[in-house]
């Protein structure tokens, strides 16, 4: 049980670190305003959903 919890926390930590490092990595020049050609699916909370783009 403790092994499983520790393993889960380790993987969660790896994900958190990778997310943080990715966030800190600068976007290449010319790619600051890339848009996915996305029509929007049922996941309306996604920041790439067209409804959010329209609000901006």
């Amino acid at each position: 049980m403790m092994i499983a919890v520790g393993f889960g926390l380790t993987l969660g930590g790896i994900f958190a670190i990778s997310y943080y490092m990715n966030m800190k990595t600068p976007v290449p020049e010319g790619c600051e305003s890339l848009q996915a050609a996305c029509d929007g699916c049922a996941m309306t909370h996604c920041h790439k959903h067209p409804t959010h783009q329209q609000e901006v």
Partner: protein, 191 residues
């Protein structure tokens, strides 16, 4: 070799991830309006599924199974896939801006694609060895990309076709997807 070929053809055509398994429908409908974005999305999905499947497979057989914590496979695979996508995006941002411009925007979208998790789990539940796992992990996203590209060509034609107003957009797209699923079901029994 024949077994691997059968596995690949089955994964690409007969048990197609979108039209037979009904997985990955969100990106299938959302990113199939134009063929350029369909090709970009397809290539990104191939890369993510192959990479994530290898990592998940190794994680299961080298860590989860020896430690008798196989029940952690679902959570572990989700975290591995998410971390892999983060590292991939970071790597592409740093070392290949041109690749990031064409494919990078799709990587976060693929993280939540259920087809990625399905392939990682199926490799374990089906009891594939390493070579079979690689074959299956390449064949499934190739099938996804094939269907996505075909669908994008049809949708580009639908955009200029005289579709009734109530059916414009996703309704007629879903009807077309259903017809494609029926067409692909006719391939059953091929191998």
């Amino acid at each position: 070799m024949e077994n691997l070929l059968t596995l690949a053809i089955s994964a690409i055509l007969i048990n197609n991830i979108v039209l037979s398994q009904f997985l990955g429908i969100c990106p299938f409908l959302g990113v199939s309006r134009k063929k350029d974005s369909a090709i970009g999305m397809g290539l990104a999905v191939i890369f993510v599924i192959v990479g994530a499947s290898i990592l998940s497979y190794l994680l299961y057989h080298l860590v989860l199974d020896p430690l008798d914590i196989e029940y952690m496979n679902l959570i572990s695979f989700i975290l591995v896939i998410a971390s892999f996508v983060q590292f991939t995006e970071m790597f592409i941002k740093k070392y290949s801006p041109s690749l990031y411009k064409s494919l990078g925007i799709y990587l976060p979208l693929i993280t939540t694609n259920c087809a990625v998790l399905y392939v990682a789990l199926a490799n374990i539940t089906s009891g594939y060895n390493f070579v079979e796992m690689i074959t299956y992990s390449i064949a499934v996203p190739v099938g996804f990309m094939l269907v996505l590209i075909i669908f994008s060509y049809i949708r580009e034609r639908l955009d200029i076709a005289p579709v009734p107003k109530a059916f414009k957009g996703n309704p007629v797209a879903l009807i077309v997807a259903a017809l494609m699923a029926i067409a692909f079901s006719g391939l059953a029994g091929l191998v």
